[in-house]
């Protein structure tokens, strides 16, 4: 158990942008809301999953909708209490702690707003170990948990409950209601118990985000940028796949999702190499000279070569120098069911999922990467 104040929130937000694997939206608005709530109500208690009573009722508050709309119209702040009251009434039991559904972007911050406003502890676990675009893409849903009941609210106090069984249907209805609420809304979902979260969630994710953020905010503690990168790779169990400059970016929006391709020209020892990354909100496939090096659910994430600051897909910019990093996904995703849910074929790429470590090993043997 420890407490999370403003300084810790800043670090967590930075780390969450990295763990968002390009997606999750700009965490800035979430960070400002969380900082405002903590300044008003005081710091939030962070519990390890093992510190939560096994039968405690826990749930996950999050924002849903278009991140760009959320930058313009963000919540009133009272939605969270309304939703929680409604959920409590429905469950007939109060909620004892909250957790983030995903580590990436704005949703890494929402539980802290709720925690501060309602005096609830936040649990150091999530349902993805990264960011993904759809509700059913969580390790909890994968383990057979119900996403519903979902309670959604908008800034006017409109409350909607969704209670459907199939995870895909939950996603479909929630998305439709979000549109009616102005393309951005708040929601609570994935209610479970302390024991079930400890078993089926991705544990320690907030602490991991904070360690990443702390490192990035304290680069001066390292003798060289190379030493800082090594430390970052150690925290994330990651590998540097390419050091490169962004030389082309193509964006397209299909069915509300942001699709794109990014071309990288290698720098230094990688100067004879060309990288290519495909993203659908999050980064999905990365290849070097036509050899695939990493695919979802493993994390493909970009950091600035000088600041190690994560580069989300909204910040892609011609000429930006980045390290392309490959981070292994949580083991819960590396099962046949997990790969069906969030592997490359789900995103319409005709590729088998091969763990990033194995792809790296094979690519190194062929001299495709260093």
């Amino acid at each position: 158990m420890r407490t999370i104040g403003v300084a810790e929130l800043r670090e967590i937000a930075t780390g969450a942008a990295l763990m968002g694997a390009g997606g999750g939206g700009n965490p800035e608005v979430g960070k400002l809301m969380a900082i405002s709530a903590v300044r008003e109500h005081g710091p939030v208690t962070l519990l390890e999953a093992s510190e939560v009573a096994p039968d405690a009722v826990v749930t996950s508050p999050s924002g849903i909708g278009a991140p760009a709309v959320g930058l313009e119209k963000f919540p009133n702040g009272s939605e969270f209490k309304l939703m929680m009251d409604k959920l409590t009434e429905r469950l007939g039991h109060p909620v004892e702690a909250v957790f983030p559904i995903e580590a990436g972007g704005i949703n890494s911050m929402i539980p802290f707003i709720v925690g501060a406003k309602l005096g609830l502890p936040v649990i150091d676990a999530d349902g993805m170990g990264r960011a993904f675009p759809e509700l059913q893409m969580s390790t909890l849903a994968l383990a057979g948990h119900r996403i519903c009941p979902i309670v959604m609210a908008d800034e006017k106090g409109n409350l909607v409950q969704i209670d459907v069984d199939a995870p895909h249907d939950a996603e479909k209805f929630a998305r439709a209601i979000t549109v009616e609420m102005g393309a951005t809304a708040q929601s609570i979902s994935d209610t479970t118990t302390g024991a079930a979260l400890a078993r089926d969630g991705v544990l320690g994710i907030i602490t991991k985000c904070q360690r990443i953020g702390h490192l990035i905010h304290h680069l001066g503690d390292y003798a060289t940028p190379a030493a800082a990168l090594s430390a970052l790779l150690e925290i994330t169990s990651g590998t540097r796949l390419l050091t490169a400059k962004i030389t082309d970016i193509q964006h397209a929006t299909k069915a509300g999702f942001n699709f794109g391709t990014v071309i990288f020209t290698g720098l230094g020892a990688d100067s004879q190499r060309t990288g290519k990354m495909e993203f659908q909100n999050e980064n999905i496939v990365f290849s070097v000279d036509d050899t695939v090096i990493a695919t979802a659910p493993d994390l493909i994430t970009l950091v600035d070569t000088e600041t190690l600051a994560p580069v989300t897909n909204e910040e892609l910019k011609y000429g930006k120098r980045v390290y392309v990093l490959g981070l292994p996904a949580d083991e819960k995703w590396r099962t046949p069911a997990g790969i069906d849910c969030v592997g490359p074929r789900y995103f319409k790429y005709d590729l088998d999922y091969v763990p990033v470590e194995q792809r790296i090993k094979a690519a190194r043997e062929k001299g495709v990467i260093d």
Partner: protein, 517 residues
């Protein structure tokens, strides 16, 4: 003959040029003074004297100035601003001024109110504006605030509510009350647009002082027949009365002017521009005659804003950068500099500090001061320092390039002598004897611009119609800023689809320029 006078105020120097059509008739450089205004005055007097032109023959005068930036950074002369945000019940989770530096909030009075209003992403009403609520708010602020900032949720879609609130403000405070509308200032992103709008409102008195000071300086020198403009940070001009309403747009005009002036001197439309000053080198990218814009949030005085700024990479290397031999024998250059004291402290001028300029003199690349005084620098040290300078610059160039192909480079600025050989990654290098006043030339050749950024749903507003609408708005802005309507042309159209948003919601940004009246 019609002459144009351009002035650019930088951190160290205030430069002025007079041009006739496409020729520079006279140019001058003078130190920037702490009050800025007297330096401008001196520059005008000097350049007029040098040119021998009758003041009455000057038909246009343009000023690029740092006064607005200085006021924000120093928290001086800022107005007490009343901020009205139209969005309640949405957006209350983050109040205005969240995460601002406390002293800047105090300087602006920190007065704000969240009121009913705003639109949804598709243009529907979020909440109706409550006239009584607005009137009561403004009435309570009487005598407490000197400027008003009005910020509405999704005002990029529809600015009716912001304009309605402004009309009520003028009813309450009188027609002279300066009112800044966010729809006319920033782009999508409520917090960053609100921040820019608050700063714009706070600069109201500063900009009045700038415009009246410039008008007076011109009149004092007998320049009475000129149309007068201020430079914007996108490389275009605005007439004084327009500039008085949009002071925030003057921030960052210096680097833009430098890039545009360099382009003009080299007669290039696409190139890298390297402006080497006394302490820093600024590298920008010229794309179709205008600087490439930064895609990053811009921080002004500790506040995040989202208005357009040129994409500039600054490194701590200039003509006055101090050269040192380290204990391990390596040679370093900068990032500290003797700055404007170069004429006293550099070895070639009889000083005791080895600077980047001394290296160029020692290697016989340029003749400045007394070259014999640089003979104390060992040949090996000079060569190592020159190599380090080349490396620092080549590295910066590589960061700004978008392809591995060599690019054309335009070299300007007073410190450009420190470049002693062709830089890695470059093709042709262009230099001009007038490179030292490129920024003032950039101010002089600028056209009048306009820009509009709006959000459309392509399912209900077809793409062509949306682009035509945004173009119309940009043209109206250019004409309001002083452009001749028939000469206004589109220079850039940028479309950005919004993810997860239904109806093919797309942000359309159009930039136009035209000739000045």
């Amino acid at each position: 003959m019609a002459y144009r006078l351009g002035i650019d105020v930088g951190g160290t120097n205030t430069d002025a040029v007079i041009m006739a059509d496409n020729t520079v008739v006279a140019s001058t450089k003078t130190h920037t003074t702490p009050d800025v205004a007297s330096g401008i005055h001196t520059a005008i007097a000097k350049v007029l004297a040098e040119s021998g032109i009758k003041p009455a023959a000057i038909t246009a005068a343009m000023l690029g100035t740092t006064q607005a930036t200085n006021a924000i950074v120093e928290r001086k002369q800022l107005a007490a601003v009343g901020v009205v945000r139209l969005g309640y019940p949405a957006t209350a989770a983050i109040t205005p001024y969240t995460e601002w530096p406390a002293d800047l909030v105090a300087a602006l009075s920190g007065t704000y109110k969240l009121v009913h209003g705003g639109y949804e992403y598709d243009g529907q009403l979020l909440t109706a504006v409550d006239d009584d609520e607005l009137r009561a708010t403004f009435t309570a602020w009487r005598g407490k605030v000197q400027a008003i900032a009005i910020v509405g949720v999704f005002s990029a879609l529809n600015r009716d509510q912001e304009e309605h609130a402004a009309a009520i403000a003028r009813e309450v405070f009188g027609a002279d009350m300066p009112v800044s509308l966010s729809a006319t200032i920033g782009s999508l992103g409520l917090i960053t647009r609100e921040n820019a709008t608050i700063l714009n409102a706070g600069l109201n008195q500063v900009i009045r002082r700038v415009t009246s000071g410039f008008a007076k300086a011109l009149a004092d020198e007998g320049i009475t027949a000129a149309s007068v403009y201020l430079c914007q940070n996108d490389g275009t001009l605005m007439a004084l009365d327009f500039a008085a309403r949009y002071p925030i747009l003057t921030i960052g005009s210096g680097p833009t002017n430098s890039i545009r002036g360099a382009a003009y001197l080299a007669k290039r439309s696409d190139a890298l521009v390297l402006d080497i000053g006394g302490t820093t080198s600024d590298l920008g990218v010229l794309v179709h005659d205008f600087p490439r814009e930064s895609s990053q949030a811009v921080t002004v005085g500790g506040v995040q804003t989202n208005f357009r700024m040129p994409d500039i990479l600054s490194i701590g290397l200039g003509g006055g950068s101090i050269v040192r031999t380290q204990p391990d024998g390596s040679v370093t250059v900068g990032p500290d500099s003797v700055g404007y004291q170069i004429t006293e402290r550099a070895l070639c001028f009889g000083g005791d500090t080895m600077t980047a300029t001394d290296i160029a003199v020692r290697l016989g690349h340029v003749k400045l001061g007394d070259p014999a005084l640089t003979q104390v620098i060992p040949q090996a040290t000079a060569e190592a320092a020159a190599a380090e300078i080349q490396r620092l610059l080549a590295d910066a160039i590589d960061k700004m390039k978008t392809s591995a192909e060599p690019v054309d480079l335009i070299l300007v600025g007073g410190g450009a002598v420190i470049v002693t050989a062709k830089l890695a990654g470059t093709a042709t290098t262009y230099q001009s004897p007038l490179g030292g006043v490129a920024n003032a030339i950039g101010a002089t050749i600028a056209q009048v611009g306009g820009q509009a950024e709006k959000l459309y749903q392509y399912v209900s507003v077809p793409r062509a119609e949306a682009i035509a609408d945004a173009t119309q708005a940009a043209k109206q802005q250019a004409i309001a800023a002083g452009a001749v309507p028939a000469t206004v042309d589109v220079v850039d159209i940028d479309e950005l689809p919004l993810q997860y948003a239904p109806g093919e919601a797309t942000r359309v940004k159009v930039k136009v320029v035209g000739q000045m009246a």
